[in-house]
């Protein structure tokens, strides 16, 4: 689906002046940001600041009212957009895992490539086993989601998304619903991905993690990006009072 105008030296995801309202409530008031290939960005900010809505717009789970979101040159804010083609290249992991409860871990990983991408079952199964190994869940292939811990389910969800070979991964507060002791195993899996060069957009509350893996951090509040910068400077040299207040509460 790669647009002919787009070349890898341009931003892989380009968000420009995006506005979005739910009824009378305007949750995004002109947000712009770029994500280059292989870059990991973290979006942080208080609850209700529009972070989740923003990344849900990137794979067209939510529509936007105005502005532009381009993924590999494809305009998401286009009535004729082929959402399915877009989503084949954009993976997403949710706060609530959302594994398919009637399928085993391995089947969860294998289903979409076989049914949606029509790839051969043998090839997909080989890839699925490699992914299960990569998220450190060997031995859990035949477990149903209900038999796995939150952290394990979330790692299956990451593997499921990776099985589609996406070009960019969206993580929507993926550790927010987890028990503290399982948060780390999920973060490790994401870190492994990031170091492998996967383009990632994360909405997170894990500041330590953001500092460690992010190339760029965006702080949003009330629908706008208040401040952004590389982690080295962002945490120490925040100038906006809202950012300072948020960081002082979190850190």
């Amino acid at each position: 689906m790669t647009n002919s105008d787009w070349t890898p030296d341009q931003p892989l995801v380009s968000i420009k002046d995006v506005h979005k309202s739910f009824g009378d409530l305007e949750v995004l008031k002109g947000v712009s940001l770029d994500v280059r290939q292989g870059e990991v960005i973290c979006i942080i900010g208080p609850s209700g600041s529009g972070k989740s809505t923003l990344i849900r717009c990137v794979n067209a789970l939510n529509t936007i009212d105005s502005g532009s979101i381009k993924v590999e040159g494809i305009e998401v804010n286009d009535p004729d957009l082929d959402k399915l083609e877009l989503r084949k290249n954009v993976g997403m992991v949710f706060q609530q895992y959302n594994l398919f409860p009637h399928k085993t871990a391995l089947e969860n990983v294998m289903m979409a490539p076989i049914k949606v991408l029509k790839q051969s079952a043998e090839e997909v199964e080989e890839r699925a086993h490699a992914l299960i190994k990569r998220v450190n869940l060997v031995g859990k292939e035949n477990s149903y989601p209900g038999e796995l811990s939150g952290g394990q389910q979330q790692r299956v969800a990451i593997a499921r998304s990776l099985a589609m070979n996406p070009d960019v991964m969206l993580f929507d507060e993926v550790t927010a619903a987890l028990d503290p002791e399982t948060v780390n195993e999920v973060l490790l899996a994401i870190k492994d991905l990031a170091q492998d060069g996967m383009t990632c957009i994360l909405v997170t509350h894990e500041m330590g993690f953001a500092r460690e893996v992010a190339d760029h951090i965006y702080f949003t509040d009330r629908g706008i990006i208040v401040e952004h910068g590389p982690p080295a400077t962002f945490f120490t040299e925040a100038t906006d009072p809202r950012t300072q207040e948020f960081l002082s509460q979190i850190l």
Partner: protein, 300 residues
Amino acid sequence: MTSVSKSGAARNRFNATNLAVLKPFKFNPAGQVQDLQFSHWLAEFSPRSLLIIALLFLLWPGFAMAQSNYSFAQALDALWRWLPFIVTKGFLLNLIVSFLTMFIGTIAGVLLGLGQVSPLRPLARLSWFITQLFRNSPWLVLLFIVMLALPFEIEIGGEVYPIPDWLKAVFGLALPIMANISEIVRGAIVSVPTGQWEAAESLAYSRQQTLWMVILPQCFKRMIPPWMNWYAILTMATPLISLLGVEEIITLSRQAMEAEDNHPELLVPFFGFALIIFFAYCYPIARLTIRLEKRFVVRQ
């Protein structure tokens, strides 16, 4: 339980119309799968209460006996003679009607239920309207309409095929069953968390694929108990079609009683037998329904 002492005949014939279908209309936006009140009610009969009901039936002729020289034993004897006829010609037809009705009602109901959750607004509204219309109409009225509206014979390729009354009754009963199955399907689909839709969508599943591969397999189990509940209700409602002259168990029982000179002592044995045979058939279904319901609830 309090209504048990009423005349068995009246109770039997109007059993179904006293149930869920005649309850006031309640919109159910939360989309919970329907409650299984009927199956609960039926399954809650303990073996001891069954014994008490049986005793009541045995005592009753004792009071009636004094007025007539026709003995209870003679009445039982008459029932015994007619029993094979009533069961093989009558009750069997009730069962055939219930099977066919459930078959047609389920197929039509699933389609209608899927129509209700369709993203095409007009189709969803139309399906909703049809569902509510037939769910909230008295069964007997629907039966009469179908009975009078359908032709008594059809011509296919020059050959004339008669449509028997019982087949028309099947179509009539299938309408409310269809509407209730439609609600079961809609409720089950709506009860699946939206996260499942979103997860499937973000893996590039189309809406159809999401529905058939992700959503429906998850709610299939949830639909079985209410589906069985409606089957039991339907079976109990099949004697309604005797009012349309279909020769099912109640019609044949009355014919048999007429042949036995209409002694009033015949009423309790004959209709009591009909009651027992329906109970014997539906009770295990209700018990199984409740068991499945409990199992599926635990596994959720």
